[in-house]
């Protein structure tokens, strides 16, 4: 166990079987996450970020199904587990925070009810002990007057407050892994910073791993140890935050970086949007999914899926451009 990573996903394939056909939402996704690490998954809508995260919890929505690959988490083989076995892990060893705190809490039950529910489900605590734990959790996530808040209903709290409650629910049983699915997207900018700060603080206190899903590179830059960039159900580049920000290798990553506004931009510097639309996952192209939008697209890109090129122990990307350089280097070597 000790040298095993906390989470190991290997060649995960997941499809949604819709009436229109099979939508290949995840296409050979592999990555590892060590105990205590923070992984950021970045990508645009529909790139498979959330689907990856949900599959770890066995929350894949109907009509989605894992069609290949393995998920190992904390000694469990998630891909083989039944719904009933999954239940004992969810909320206990792995928890999730959703995007929209406004709708993620049940409107007809009090905050206290919803926090105590998960505590009593996974521990042997009595009603009183669960209540005490709920109070403790609320103060942990920075909510004042926890006793009073526990008696309130979700609609009586602000968005930021509700997201704190969601975090409290997620942390109730001290999970090994916390998945945050765009936890700040629905919040005001000032609240966003507070929530992110809170999460980092709690990470230090509790020591769990975090998977941070976002389409906002700014969010991941100062939080994450590793970043995975996803495009059309594939990880197109993986690396440390420094690798991704200062040494991007995939054209899509570069495109993402140039589309972030910078404060120190000179007058003439323009934001460069990524032109075009994401591919149709119903009929994915044979080659690189990003090819149609890529400025440096080559003939091979349209035909073949690029293999991963490794630049260091944990920095790799899937792009024919890097393969081209290698190819040319080899050719040059042959000649001499």
């Amino acid at each position: 166990m000790s040298n095993q990573p906390l989470l190991n996903i290997e060649h995960l394939r997941l499809s949604f079987f819709t009436p229109a056909g099979e939508v290949k939402a995840l296409n050979d996704v592999s990555f590892q996450l060590e105990q205590g690490d923070v992984l950021g998954i970045v990508g645009e809508s529909g790139s498979g970020k959330s689907v990856t995260a949900y599959s770890i919890m066995g929350l894949t929505a109907y009509p989605g199904r894992i069609v290949g690959g393995e998920i190992h988490f904390n000694g469990h083989e998630i891909h083989k587990m039944t719904e009933k076995e999954m239940r004992s892990i969810r909320g206990k060893e792995v928890s999730i925070i959703f995007q929209d705190p406004m709708t993620s809490l049940n409107p007809v039950y009090t905050i206290g009810n919803q926090i105590c529910e998960v505590i009593r489900l996974h521990t042997n605590k009595t009603k009183e002990q669960a209540h005490a734990r709920a109070v403790e959790l609320l103060s942990l996530v920075g909510i004042n007057e926890p006793e009073r808040r526990l008696k309130q209903y979700p609609h009586e709290l602000s968005g930021g407050m509700r997201q704190r409650v969601m975090i409290a629910i997620a942390l109730a049983c001290e999970p090994k892994l916390l998945i945050a699915d765009e936890p700040t997207t629905a919040l005001d900018v000032t609240i966003q910073a507070q929530i992110l700060e809170l999460m980092m603080e709690l990470k230090k206190k509790i020591g769990m791993s975090i998977i941070m899903i976002t389409h906002d590179l700014g969010v991941v830059s100062n939080m994450c140890d590793k970043i995975a960039v996803m495009y059309a159900g594939k990880i197109v580049e993986y690396g440390t935050a420094d690798d991704i920000f200062y040494n991007p290798q995939h054209e899509y990553t570069r495109g993402l970086l140039t589309s972030i506004p910078k404060l120190n931009a000179t007058e003439h510097e323009r934001l460069v949007p990524i032109e075009g639309q994401p591919v149709d996952l119903l009929n994915p192209p044979a080659g690189c999914p990003f090819a149609p939008r890529c400025k440096s697209c080559m003939k091979i890109c349209l035909r073949e899926m690029p293999p991963y090129t490794h630049f260091s122990e944990d920095h790799y990307s899937a792009c024919w451009l890097t393969q081209k350089k290698e190819f040319e280097a080899r050719k040059g070597g042959d000649r001499t």
């Binding site: 440096s296 003939k299 091979i300 293999p307 090129t309 490794h310 290698e326 190819f327």
Partner: protein
């Protein structure tokens, strides 16, 4: 420099220099299967045409309309023609000899009575046709009245908002809580007299009331008075959402008047909702009409509607069950078809209205 730590990758394919040539635009685009973008109406129509249930319902409605409006023109009997000697015939029962002789001497039709005749010797088939016609007319006219009053009222309340909206909606709330069926019955009972009086006093202006039938006019009046509130609420909430949209602000900035904005921008944009709600209003109006006719408050004899046909048939239920079953099934068929068509329209044009 970046590739210093580059590892060798086993390549699955033999690579050629030409593979690394830049691809041109057309090659790139050939990969992208773009779904054609379609307009709201086209998209909705396509979804509607694909919806088999809705299409079958539409066909049924058209057939029923032909049955009610066109067939009677060619039918040899009329709905109020009492044929002596042919009373209480069963379905497809041959006309008695005596009546045949009578018909010959008077030049009456001897076309077979497909559904038999009623106790007054009227052909039942044509009565069902006329009943269907009246029920459809009531349903559609009432819905149009409701559509007109409700959408206008709702649009005004929603558009002006604030105090106007509050006052107007308070009235709607009050009407909403009034038990409508009871008031309808009450109105139908009492309105008869002043309406009759009106028609008698001013035959030139209100003579049509007698022609249409006092009972029917009563039904229309009560629908116009009470049933529009649901429509008004729906339209108001639509307008409230729509008026926050930028194009309305733009129109205002360009100096467009309120009336123009309501008509041009707001009503056209909630037309999907209006169509769906009106279609679903038709069966509910027919439902109410048949109920009123059944308890004896609908059209006046000899005119008939499906509800009054059913009501009249109750007396002879053990001997002539078909007289009851046929109008009953007809009502259900019409209501079902309109409901299913309305559901189809909603799915096609207004998915957010679902539920």
């Amino acid at each position: 420099m970046e590739q210093e730590k580059m590892k060798k990758n086993p390549l699955s394919v033999q690579l050629d220099v030409s593979d690394f040539l830049p691809a041109d635009e057309t090659e790139k685009q050939s990969l992208v299967v773009m779904r054609e973008s379609v307009s709201f109406w086209k998209d909705g129509m396509r979804r509607l045409l694909k919806n088999k249930v809705a299409m079958v319902s539409l066909v049924v409605i058209i057939l029923v309309m032909i049955f009610a409006f066109i067939l009677p023109i060619f039918y040899p009997y009329s709905y109020d023609e009492q044929l002596r000697g042919r009373e209480n015939l069963g379905m497809m029962e041959p006309i008695p000899e005596k009546a045949l002789a009578l018909a010959e001497s008077k030049g009456l039709s001897t076309f077979p009575h497909i559904l038999g005749t009623d106790n007054m010797g009227r052909d039942y088939m044509i009565r069902v046709m006329m009943g269907t016609r009246i029920s459809l007319l009531v349903g559609i006219t009432a819905s149009v009245i409701i559509l007109f009053i409700g959408s206008l009222y709702g649009a005004i309340a929603g558009y002006f908002g604030g105090k106007v909206d509050m006052m107007m909606m308070r009235l709607v709330d009050i009407i909403y809580t009034v038990p409508d069926i009871l008031i309808i019955i009450l109105l139908s009972v009492t309105l008869k007299y002043p309406l009759k009086q009106l028609a008698a006093d001013y035959p030139a202006m209100f003579g049509w009331i007698e022609t249409v039938g006092v009972g029917l006019v009563c039904i229309f009046i009560v629908f116009a008075l009470l049933y529009w509130v649901g429509m008004a609420r729906i339209v108001r909430s639509q307008i409230l959402i729509l008026k926050e949209q930028e194009y309305v602000t733009a129109a205002k900035a360009l100096g467009a008047g309120s009336g123009h904005i309501i008509r041009k921008h707001l009503l056209t944009n909630c037309i999907g909702t209006l169509i769906v709600t009106t279609t679903l209003q038709i069966p509910s109006s027919i439902f109410t009409e048949s109920f009123l006719s059944f308890i004896g408050l609908g059209v006046a004899a000899p005119m008939t509607s499906l509800g009054s046909l059913a009501s009249a048939a109750i007396g002879g239920i053990s001997s002539y069950p078909h007289r009851l079953l046929i109008p009953a099934l007809m009502i259900s068929l019409i209501i079902l078809s309109f409901n299913l068509l309305g559901d189809g329209l909603r799915d096609a044009f207004d998915p957010k209205l679902k539920n």
